[in-house]
Homo-oligomer: 157 residues x 2
DNA sequence: GGCATATACATAGCTAGCTATTATATTGCT
DNA sequence: AGCAATATAATAGCTAGCTATGTATATGCC
């Protein structure tokens, strides 16, 4: 019996972090299964979504929009280029910057890929009522905002 | 304008999968920040939780309880051993099996580590009312069960 | 013009997950 | 007893995230 008070109980089934992590893996696996046949993977998907909206973005802008680290994005883009999803071209206005453009193949995947993502969400939430789905999305948004708020301000204990 | 119907709209802010993935990364980062000083990391945490409950489990049993792939567990355990959290001893009853036991250091981390996890959950959910927290956990449980149900039965389209 | 600083991106090296394969020990059947 | 089948764990090799650091181009100031 450890001396710490309150630390005795830790049930994974009532730990938000535990469940969120579990859920994320399941969502990822489900999406993976549906988009792998298209030649896509989960890490690539958010980038494609942005490029389908606005082709020709820079790496920095993708990083800003997707919220992943720059190094992560650099590696993801390298794989995407290797796999023929994008092409990169140095800007002549600024030699540091690269415009990232979808290849024709990349463009062509928009419809089926988004359908796949929608299907995953729909299947996953199939046991929830419309109100519950709203609740779920709303609560997640609220939690994400909480994380964002406590970002610069180190409101420790 | 692609020909696919329904594929036009895809807002990440209303995609459960997108948000869950985002949330998982934030939870993991928050936990990491709190347990790294203890010499723990996120992947190790679930294993420690099980061993704090039942020391001496086998790899197979940990895999079963945590729901991660056997290869993932093997690697995690290797790091844990390297870092002095566990020791492994071959069972003399069955030479294939290893009993996994916490070191004294591993045992000693229980209190502070669980406190850290509880604090992360509490902070993350701080903007939710008690009812909302219940809802959130309940909805996640429901979704996880949905995933579990559609596991063997390929109820495709 | 030249140098310090800042910006954009790449690289190295880590954890953590995955699939697929291999190695080793046990069990079961004949 | 011997061999096939099974069970346990390890290894190889991939994606995807992270931190820290390196490299190249721009920009600002003197």
């Amino acid at each position: 019996m450890p001396a710490y008070r309150g630390a005795m109980r830790f049930s994974k089934d009532s730990s938000a972090g535990y469940l969120v992590n579990d859920l994320a893996r399941r969502f990822a696996a489900a999406l993976q299964a549906r988009i792998k046949p298209l030649g896509l993977s989960t890490g690539v998907f958010p980038v494609m979504v942005q490029l389908w909206e606005d082709d020709g973005l820079t790496q920095t802008e993708l990083v800003r929009r997707i919220g992943v680290e720059q190094a992560t994005m650099a590696n993801t883009l390298a794989r995407m280029q290797r796999d023929g999803l994008i092409a990169r071209r140095r800007s002549k206005a600024d030699g540091r910057v690269q415009e990232i453009r979808l290849t024709d193949r990349g463009k062509s995947l928009r419809g089926p890929a988004i359908d796949a993502a929608l299907a995953v969400n729909d299947t996953a939430l199939s046991s929830l009522s419309p109100e519950e789905r709203e609740q779920f999305l709303g609560l997640m948004g609220k939690i994400i905002r909480t994380f964002d708020d406590g970002e610069g301000a180190a409101a420790d204990d």
